[in-house]
Symmetry: C2
């Protein structure tokens, strides 16, 4: 007969034992320096008494979204969403036909829609995505994500998230980290799927935003997203968004393009143990291959800078046994 | 002999049983309608199967800070900090003596320092608090909080937090809520003590902010707080700050002044079960008594509006058995 106390102890010990002898937390990562750098970093900062120990409140990890957590080629999913929405709204906006940029967007001509440069894109963005409440816009984006399909795989965009990165998110969480998305994409667009897809709560998403205005609607206080960009969470905007929103310098950052350069610097230039990782898209067969010359997700400056601070440059082709979830 | 499975079940049930028969979660609240409204609300939204059940991810509570979680009279602690800092920096800034607003601030003349109105205060704020990194400023504020004393009680400001509200924070957390501070105060100032004092992580503090600029300092990427207010998280700014930062309409809001009016409305005008609470300062003996005529923490519009949406108006004098922690 088992004594009560020892049975209880046995019972309590079960999960710990399972974890200690447990499975590889990163099964989609091939053995190699990138995988082991990540395993070592997390072990070091989370093991009490270790030289690199970091208290849980300071274990903050930041992730770019497009190209780091999900596919960003042949165009950012939010850009495809924007064009779909311009097409859907076109019948109610006949005046759009007088504008070359809108005409191209309505025709599904991505190149033509982008020919208006930043100014043209901002007009399209305002027309496609503003003029609603944050809650309504999030619903519109979530509905689109349910039916839209990626042109190459004919699968939902939320199915084209990287399995190895889902494992990183889970592994960091189990190591006491709080994971944040710090995306150049619109904050409500990313919030529309971050919780279900990545297990990241909406308040842990930092992104670009339109200006918000307080209005009244049928006697209720309502927020209106105005067609005027308020904050661009890209490049130097990323450390600014992090400081405002998180209030603490992260100790780990994951990105894939020059838009993440300042975030990687800000993270790894802090004192103590730090971790920077760049996902390099070099797998044309299973995903896409692009870097210095790409119009989307250009990676040049951050790649050249990587060796000095010891940023881990992941080869999708070599380091990932599996790409999609 | 106890069967293994039932012993395990018994063992697992222990904490639940302890909680069910457990102590009053709000011991500093006197029995009465306010306390019971709060107990009922939390029970209803967190009990699975209840009509008012709310999934954990949506259990967001927002708290004003000055006058809701800690003392704000005779002046906001951050205002006292600002004047202390102007005095400390005055010897290095002899030109300040040419300016009446600065001269008053240096002399510790609160009324004179405020005579320059909003514009004068913003100049003082910029001179006293900007020109540093968010990390440095947070450290400066934390250092000040260690030595500064409230003029009436001669105690640190962080000791003048309301015990009943600490109990509310803990009680909500135990009910699966995420608590956020949404303060008109500077975001880094509040972050300097929120974690230690309230158990609220830095990324769950929303506040006012100066503009941030990315610069270089000795080859490291550095953020500089510029003497230019970027966002005022007060009045209509509060729902905007909530939408940007939290991304979800809270289901419970706690405030004490007209600066919280829009936050209370935004919270309680959402669909489903909602909770709004106003702390009314009517206890001159144990704390302060002020409302409609106060220059700080004026409470008029929100008080008049409270009955219709059923906001709970707390009488410090009647409802709180104890005021300070």
């Amino acid at each position: 007969m088992v004594e009560r106390r020892s049975l209880a102890a046995l019972f309590l010990a079960l999960p710990v034992a399972a974890k200690a002898q447990g499975a590889d937390p990163l099964p989609s990562w091939r053995e190699g320096p990138r995988k082991h750098a990540l395993l070592d970093f997390v072990a070091s900062v989370s093991r009490e008494g270790s030289a690199g120990y970091v208290p849980p409140a300071e274990r903050i990890a930041v992730f770019d979204n497009d190209g780091t957590l999900w596919v960003e080629q042949p165009a950012y999913p939010q850009l495809i969403f924007m064009l779909d929405r311009i097409r859907a709204l076109a019948p109610q906006n006949p005046a759009w036909q007088q504008d070359a940029v809108f005409r191209a967007a309505i025709a599904g001509d991505l190149r033509g829609a982008m020919a208006g440069g930043h100014e043209g894109l901002m007009r399209l963005a305002g027309a496609a995505m503003a003029g609603n409440t944050p809650e309504d816009f999030q619903r519109i984006a979530a509905d689109w994500l349910k039916t839209a399909r990626h042109p190459r795989w004919n699968r939902p965009f939320t199915a084209l998230v990287y399995q190895p990165m889902l494992e990183v998110l889970r592994f960091l969480r189990s190591g006491g980290f709080a994971n944040f998305i710090v995306s150049g994409g619109g904050v409500e667009f990313v919030r529309a799927f971050a919780e279900d897809t990545y297990g990241i709560p909406q308040h842990q998403v930092v992104g670009s935003s339109f200006a918000l205005k307080v209005t009244e609607d049928a006697g209720r206080l309502t927020l209106l997203r105005e067609p005027r960009v308020d904050f661009i969470d890209d490049g130097p905007g990323k450390p600014i968004g992090i400081a405002r929103h998180i209030g603490r310098r992260p100790i780990a950052a994951f990105g894939n393009s020059d838009g993440d350069f300042e975030m990687l610097r800000y993270t790894t230039e802090g004192a103590g143990k730090r971790f920077g990782m760049i996902i390099r898209h070099d797998d044309a067969e299973r995903e896409f291959a692009y870097d210095r010359e790409s119009h989307i997700g250009r990676l040049a400056r951050a790649l050249d800078a990587a060796p000095a601070p010891g940023w881990q440059v992941v080869s999708m082709r070599e380091d990932w046994a599996r790409v999609f979830a």
